[in-house]
């Protein structure tokens, strides 16, 4: 991923800045710039998500793409955020700890590296809430 492609999504990746539609109050993360319900009468504004949610489903990745090979096995899940939308993210826990329905909160973590000299990708993972 080029620097510009990563850089332009830093607020979204680091701080979970998504969007919401002020017409219908639906929240979007990952962010959308067009409301599928209200269409042209939608009014999209930025919205900072609280970062808490519940695990909908998960897997433990044993065979990863190149950039993630060093991290296997790792837990990947779909998290339903309390504001409504769902997102895909890694869960910072042991593979045998993850469960459907588990409450999680967002944490800032390193995601991957573009080789030894490339940029380091940071972003959002989730960890279990005690």
């Amino acid at each position: 991923m080029t620097v510009a492609r990563f850089w332009r999504k830093i607020p979204q990746r680091y701080n979970m800045i998504g969007t919401k539609c002020e017409t219908c109050h639906r929240h979007f993360f990952p962010p959308r710039t067009f409301c599928p319900d209200c269409r042209r009468s939608g009014r999209i504004v930025d919205h900072k998500f609280a970062g808490s949610g519940t695990i909908v489903t998960y897997t433990v990745i044993h065979t990863a793409n190149e950039q993630f090979e060093a991290f296997t096995p790792y837990v990947l899940a779909i998290v339903k955020l309390d504001e409504g939308p769902r997102m895909t993210a890694q869960i910072v826990c042991r593979p045998d700890e993850v469960k459907i329905g588990m409450r999680v909160k967002s944490v800032f973590r390193r995601i991957a590296t573009d080789g030894e000299t490339g940029i380091i990708h940071y972003g959002t993972k989730f960890m279990p809430v005690d």
């Binding site: 991923m1 999504k9 990952p30 909908v56 489903t57 998960y58 897997t59 433990v60 990745i61 044993h62 065979t63 990863a64 793409n65 190149e66 950039q67 993630f68 090979e69 991290f71 790792y74 990947l76 899940a77 779909i78 939308p85 769902r86 997102m87 895909t88 993210a89 890694q90 593979p95 459907i100 995601i111 991957a112 990708h121 972003g123 993972k125």
Partner: protein
């Protein structure tokens, strides 16, 4: 709209074909299809080529022109169009060819699919396939394709009765069929233990739950039904051609374990053909992973939601079952050269309907169906084909 028929079919063998390149693969499949239709190349009016990612697999774009050229048609200047919808590229190419003929715009049209996947390292091919999902919000965070389907499996097994052994039976059945298909990448039968002992890829999916990396090409020729007998004694009529889309990400779906695009495209197809699932003699579904076949047979209506595990374990999807599924061996055993898969599904159904499927022939097959999925269900193409 005009009625459309398939008048010729061709397919390479599928596998890791180190000695043969992208363009030779296509030429082989195309030549077989032309020979089958007893047609010479200059009769072709147009071509549609399903291809997912030659750009990343062999660093080649502009596939339509390349293929027309190496098919010896550059001097005929026919329109040749690449169609891309990830793993559903082939199904969409076939649909574009059908639409071109049905509209009256063209008469003799080639629908083909080709993918050369082994010219990059396995890690790079897996990464390329991840582009069928959402790169920014799935791939970026560490999702793989098996990982996304594994999350469907986790959700499914949490909500419905599906055992690990029943899931393995999908692969066992598809390998049984593949062992009876001369073009299949894997022609060995396996047992449930083979699946359960294979390497873990993404829990709960193991290596034998996953379709392989494959090189291959397939081509079919369509024409107006009323001209079909000029070329073949056994034209196969296209009874329905439908397509549906859904959210690109798995996490945005209404229901993680239901491919709504399959449900919608399936209903549209049955309506278009004025048929129901009871009329279908066999179906080629998109079993990129074992769980995908489980979802597909439910979403198409062949059994109720939550019952596909038992349905499969009871043998209802086997060659001798109520509704034989993936008589070709499916993506699992026949192989999955992504852009070619949708065309190979049509190739298999046409063979069945012409009574040319050898050891895997379904008795008195009259109507067959194909179901081709892009990504985790963001695109679905469905076709129903019948004997005339």
């Amino acid at each position: 709209m005009r009625d459309v028929a398939v008048i010729g079919i061709g397919c390479t063998t599928f596998g890791e074909k180190w000695s043969i390149g992208f363009r030779e693969l296509f030429v082989e499949a195309g030549a077989l299809a032309l020979e089958d239709a007893q047609l010479s190349g200059e009769k072709i009016d147009a071509m549609y080529i399903g291809n997912m990612s030659a750009g990343r697999f062999i660093e080649q774009e502009h596939i339509g022109a390349l293929i027309a050229d190496y098919a010896g048609l550059a001097t005929h200047h026919i329109p040749s169009t690449r169609v891309e919808a990830a793993c559903a590229s082939g199904g969409l190419a076939f649909r574009q060819a059908v639409i071109a003929v049905a509209s009256g715009m063209e008469d003799i049209v080639v629908a083909a699919g080709v993918e050369k996947m082994t010219d990059v390292e396995p890690g790079a091919s897996t990464d390329t396939l991840t582009g069928a999902a959402d790169r920014e919000w799935e791939g970026f965070v560490g999702a793989t394709f098996p990982g996304l389907y594994a999350m469907i499996a986790t959700d499914y097994m949490h909500r419905y009765p599906l055992t690990r052994e029943q899931l393995a039976q999908v692969a066992v059945k598809n390998h049984y069929n593949g062992a009876r298909n001369p073009i299949a990448q894997f022609q060995q039968e396996i047992t449930i233990e083979t699946v359960l002992r294979s390497t873990m890829v993404a829990e709960p999916l193991r290596l034998f739950d996953c379709s392989p990396i494959t090189d291959g090409a397939a081509a079919v020729i369509v024409a107006p039904l009323d001209r079909a007998r000029e070329f073949t004694d056994t034209p196969i009529k296209v009874l329905a051609s439908t397509q549906a889309s859904d959210t690109i990400t798995l996490h945005d779906r209404r229901d993680i374990s239901t491919l709504d695009a399959t449900v919608v495209a399936g209903k549209r197809a049955f309506k278009m053909a004025k048929l129901s699932h009871k009329d279908i003699d066999m179906v080629e579904v998109h079993d990129c992973f074992s769980i995908a076949e489980i979802c597909a047979i439910e979403d198409l209506g062949f059994c109720r939601k939550g019952e596909a595990g038992k349905f499969t374990a009871d043998g209802e999807t086997a060659l001798s079952g109520k509704i034989p599924v993936n008589t070709s061996g499916g993506l699992k055993a026949c192989g999955h050269p992504v852009g070619a898969t949708g065309i190979k599904q049509v190739y298999e159904i046409v063979q069945q309907l012409r009574n040319e499927a050898g050891k895997r022939q379904i008795d008195d097959a009259k109507i067959g169906m194909t179901h081709n999925v892009g990504g985790t269900g963001a695109t679905v193409a469905i076709h129903i084909l019948g004997r005339v």
